[in-house]
Amino acid sequence: MAVSAHVDENEDAPELIPGATAGVKSFVAPPETQEAIGFTPALTDGWQERALQRMGELLERYRSLRVFMDACVHCGACTDKCHYYLGTRDPNNMPVARQELMRRVYRRYFTPAGRLFPKLVGARELTKEVLEEWFTYYYQCSECRRCSIFCPYGIDTAEVTMAAREILNSVGYGQKYSNEIIGKVHRIGNNLGLNPAALRNTLEGLEEELKEEVGREIRFPVDEKGAEVLLVTPSADFFAEPHIYSLIGYAKVFHAAGISWTLSTKASEGGNFGLFIGNYDQLRRIALRIREAALELGVKRVVVGECGHAWRVAYSFWNTLIGVGAGADPEDRYGQMLQRQLDHRYKQPSHICEVTYDLLERGAIKVDPTANDRYVVTFHDSCNVARASRMGSSSEGQFEIPRAIIRRVARRFVEMNPETTRERTFCCGGGGGLLTDELLEIRVKGAKPRMKALKAAVEQEGVNFMATICAICKAQFTKVLPAYGFKMSMVGGVHQLVSNAILL
């Protein structure tokens, strides 16, 4: 599919174009895909009742959902904050309108006002039509949380989207892309379906290539018991471009610092699509592989590679889900089991950027920034890192640490428009389970706000490299950069730059 776009198109378009992307739909998961992960195979009679029942359960289980359903005052502060709205002008892509798709149903069935005066408060029955709308627009949200920054009550549309997807899944109306990937993780161990033998092969090939290139034995150990570090990274790092250059970067960092490390065939995936579909059980089961691998291999530290949502899950949820972290209650046997094994002089889990930054600070690894002199670098903050996690111990470490690394390894670094970076960063347009071809149109349009800021940086500052620390951002940008007239090699990882500059 050839999609091309322009950053200025749409600028004079009317504020709202109802139904602009009503036709951009994910593929529905076929019954086998649903069944493979224990979900209802298909939409059957009585779905409405089951959907409402699930909704009721979620309202009791998630305070976020309950409060968010009640608290919105329709103030509109969020309406122009979503990249999908900005790129499409479809009113259903305004965060509040997206929430409203569920809230109207919530009012109708769960509040007295909606039961008594549905018209007055805009309540609506859960019909097949509404379900279709959910399926369309809750898969046009990348769960990037940008809207929640500006909402006076912190209403996070991502939470609503996750709940909606969970309800859709519970009635057998899942998204093919996400659910297939979850199936692969359980069956093979990673999102890309790379089996252990293939993984070993790939990594051996990489070792040989590197030996020729830099003349050193840089290892990519797999399943090595007793290694200090278990590295959990998105599986795209194993062979996709530009991801693999960052993988090489991590390996060089460990090599140069003399830290023993290992990958795990069992935990050969940092990503966790359980997050995207809002399913706690999947989220936990996918995360459990990491716990099992860490216990089996006896590692002291768990480090996460460049992946935005993986870092959110690792940083914010692993301690809860699987006990990778600290501070488990003494009574909490499950949490204690792993936490006794881990070395608490380090944050558990750590981000690879935290590791590298710390080594740079201590002088334990050395770099030559002139190696990146061909680049004028800018940094794209990935949403899950920016708004759902942190690094280091300062509350803005997730912004500062990657930038500090870049400044050490490259001499020319410039920022994009501050309205589009740090906590206000725009999603790449492909996050949250949208990185699939049938959604290309919305992905390209959703990338527009970022492309606009990039274009300005290219024109004014001569930027020719946009560094980022997310596998999805990298994959999405390589696809959409050409649509905006940029070279796809313009995007790459922070550790790709580290890899160029590090002295071995």
Partner: protein, 243 residues
């Protein structure tokens, strides 16, 4: 009037308490503060104080809306303080001193409300998301504020009698309701607000304090956070998974 006074107050109190209990009992299974977020309890309190007093997030989001919102809510605060004179006897010095500001507060409220309504009508995005009830709320609040200002500047009701009625109602020693249409309208509008509060978007006020994206400390690596149902799930599955 007296009956309505009690009914409205009862619905408000019971409805609100039930909502607060519901919010309080519903767990937040995962750590989801919107980052950058404070790592300590004290930091969280400071974050909430800023949200409640200066509407920090809204300030980042939409300056004009923030201005109208501050005018309205700030005005409401001053007006509320001014109204304390009907409930307290004797009226404390500070409140006497603050009285005149209540009038400016009332004006600020009206300006804020008109601004908010203007946005709702003029900005296509906001018009699109407005429901009938959103407009009715603005109408109700304008009736409340407008009737209040009218009484201050034009009709001048017998405030001594009004105070006697209110004091009588709250001390359960009823006094007659002064026959004044403006006062009646003002009070009725207020009762409607009280009754609807626990069932409407006015829940944004208590909701903010329960919002996990704002009230959680960002310390997931330092402390293991477990919701009750998640802990139960863990116990149930632990047997099978433990090694």
């Amino acid at each position: 009037m007296l009956v309505l006074f009690y009914v409205a107050s009862a619905v408000f109190v019971v409805g609100l308490v039930l909502k607060l209990v519901q919010y309080g009992r519903t767990p937040a299974p995962l750590k989801i503060p919107t980052t950058p977020a404070p790592a300590t309890r004290g930091g969280v309190i400071w974050r909430l104080v800023k949200e409640v007093t200066v509407f920090e997030s809204l300030f980042k989001g939409d300056l004009l809306l923030w201005l109208f919102a501050i005018l309205f809510h700030g005005g409401l605060l001053l007006v509320t303080v001014r109204h304390l004179r009907y409930f307290l006897d004797p009226v404390p010095e500070v409140i006497v001193w603050l009285q005149p500001f209540g009038i400016y507060g009332g004006m600020a409220m009206v300006v804020g409300l008109l601004g908010l309504w203007g946005r709702r009508l003029l900005i296509a995005r906001v018009r699109y998301i407005s429901t009938v009830s959103d407009h009715l709320w603005l109408l109700l609040l304008l009736v409340l504020a407008g009737s209040g200002l009218l009484m201050t500047f034009v009709t001048h009701p017998d405030v001594v009698a009004v105070k006697a009625f209110v004091r009588g109602a709250i001390t359960f020693s009823p006094e007659p309701f002064p026959s004044d249409l403006m006062v009646a309208l003002h009070l009725l509008a207020f009762f409607v607000l009280l009754v609807l509060f626990p069932f409407s978007k006015l829940l944004h006020a208590p909701g903010l304090f329960f919002s996990p994206t704002r009230n959680q400390a960002d310390d997931p690596r330092e402390r293991r956070h477990l919701a009750s149902w998640a802990a139960a799930l863990e116990r149930e599955k632990a047997g099978a998974e433990e090694r």
